[in-house]
């Protein structure tokens, strides 16, 4: 796992961290979001539409559905990213991934 980490806590009382698992894949993914040295806002918004409309990651979904859909999103976009989910006290973290049947498989990081 890489050293860059970004975290979020949500209104659904969940907490996640995202890490770069495959730097080469991530670099390729990130390059696609730039036009020269600047963010390509249109491409970024096309990705937002994918997120909202095709992968259906929305506040009205259950937490479980959004987790599954988001994991699919970062996998099929070849982002090179992985997601960790924290316990409510943030003392325990698990890598969450999808198996072939689209079930979430947690792997404890501690």
């Amino acid at each position: 796992m890489g050293t860059f980490v970004i975290g979020v806590t949500t209104a659904s009382n969940t907490q996640y961290m995202m890490v770069i698992d495959d730097p080469a894949k991530f670099a390729n993914f990130a390059n696609g979001l730039f036009n020269g040295n600047l963010f390509d806002d249109l491409t970024l918004y096309n990705y937002t539409k994918m997120y909202n409309d095709l992968f259906k990651i929305t506040p009205s979904n259950s937490t479980l559905d959004n987790e599954k859909n988001f994991l699919q999103y970062i996998e099929s976009s070849e982002s090179g990213l992985k997601v960790l989910k924290g316990s409510s006290d943030m003392q325990n973290w698990s890598l969450i991934e999808l198996d072939q049947n689209n079930n979430i498989i947690p792997t404890n990081c501690n």
Partner: protein, 164 residues
């Protein structure tokens, strides 16, 4: 063919995800109030989406012209013949899941250097209402030498546009 609002599964290779609810929003629409106006042009294309591989989907692209006090502030309508792959559109949209009379998406607020999110409601065949414009959620990152994120929105909202 898969209807965007009728499926619960995520896109799979070979899918073509259709968005028939967006059709009624297509065309040229205009709001005017004195020397202020907003014109939007929207059209639907069936495109090869960025990912997963070999998935097509209906995609609403659009162009807009914003005039404030008689001055043209933003205008992409000269590119209205461009298509998705030309990347000249200033609007990306689609119908909202579960809300067939709402079109949602983003509009490039060029004078503020950002996309903002909008919701448009279908009223009738000749009227639509731009309900709201909002900043996108999430982190704002400015590259070195770039101005900080501008939170303000000067495009008009809560306005009714008429089909041209």
């Amino acid at each position: 063919m898969v209807n965007i609002n009728a499926q619960n599964t995520l896109p799979q290779s070979g899918d073509n995800i259709l968005d028939p609810n967006a059709d009624k929003f297509m065309g040229t629409w205009k709001w005017q109030n004195g020397n202020n106006s907003l014109t939007i042009i929207m059209k639907k294309e069936n495109v090869l989406v960025p990912f997963p591989e070999n998935v097509h989907a209906d995609w609403v692209i659009g162009f807009h012209k914003f005039v404030n006090n008689g001055a043209v502030i933003e205008d992409s309508t000269m590119f209205s013949n461009a298509n998705y792959n030309d990347k000249k559109n200033s609007i990306v949209a689609g119908s909202k899941n579960g809300f067939p009379n709402i079109l949602h998406g983003g509009i490039y607020h060029k004078s503020k250097n950002k996309f903002v999110e909008f919701e448009i409601e279908y009223i009738d065949a000749t009227h639509i209402k731009l309900l709201s414009l909002k900043n996108r959620p999430g982190l704002k990152v400015s590259a070195p030498g770039q101005p900080p994120f501008d939170w303000s929105i000067t495009l008009p909202q809560n306005i009714i546009l008429t089909k041209q």
